[in-house]
Symmetry: C2
Subunit: 101 residues, 2 copies
């Protein structure tokens, strides 16, 4: 990558990190963050998971469809950042393929 | 990055993906994978999380210590790939700040 492009990419990533602060603050103030997760850590993980690198790895390199990536990302963000308020994993686990048909 | 280096990096990543198959197969055969997670998806996620890009983002760009990254990675791999054999999330979530004071 040309140095000018690398610099642009870095700026874009910094901007993305800055723009995400409000959303994490909102979740934090609402008491929605996972127990023990700080604002800073939540922001770092959100920024990493939603970045272009993870998209590239799963979609371009491993052949996931964009829709599949999107579903995975949504579920992963919830599990990684938020307090757990979903049905017990046990209940979901008994018929793993039932919902995809 | 020079084309030769990019090609080497791609080869290294392919090799890494190939080498990880045995470990995922072991987990799969042992019934340790999360319900609903296929061998292929588990392998893709393992490969993505353990790659150099995630390390670079968290350690070099966001300033995590290698030890902190390692602890996070271990916990994240367990949560992402394995059947849950930890205390009920309900018990942990009722007092979000109690453990950090």
């Amino acid at each position: 990558m040309a140095p000018e492009l690398a610099k642009l990419a870095q700026q874009r990533e910094r901007l993305r990190y800055e723009k995400e602060e409000g959303m994490i603050t909102f979740l934090c103030d609402a008491g929605a963050l996972r127990p023990g997760l700080t604002h800073r850590t939540a922001r770092d993980i959100f920024w990493m998971l939603t970045g272009g690198d993870v998209f590239r790895m799963l979609v371009r390199e491993r052949g996931w469809s964009p829709q599949r990536y999107q579903n995975w990302l949504a579920k992963t963000l919830v599990h990684s950042l938020l307090t757990q308020a979903r049905p017990s994993p046990k209940r979901l686990s008994s018929r793993p393929e039932a919902r995809t048909r």
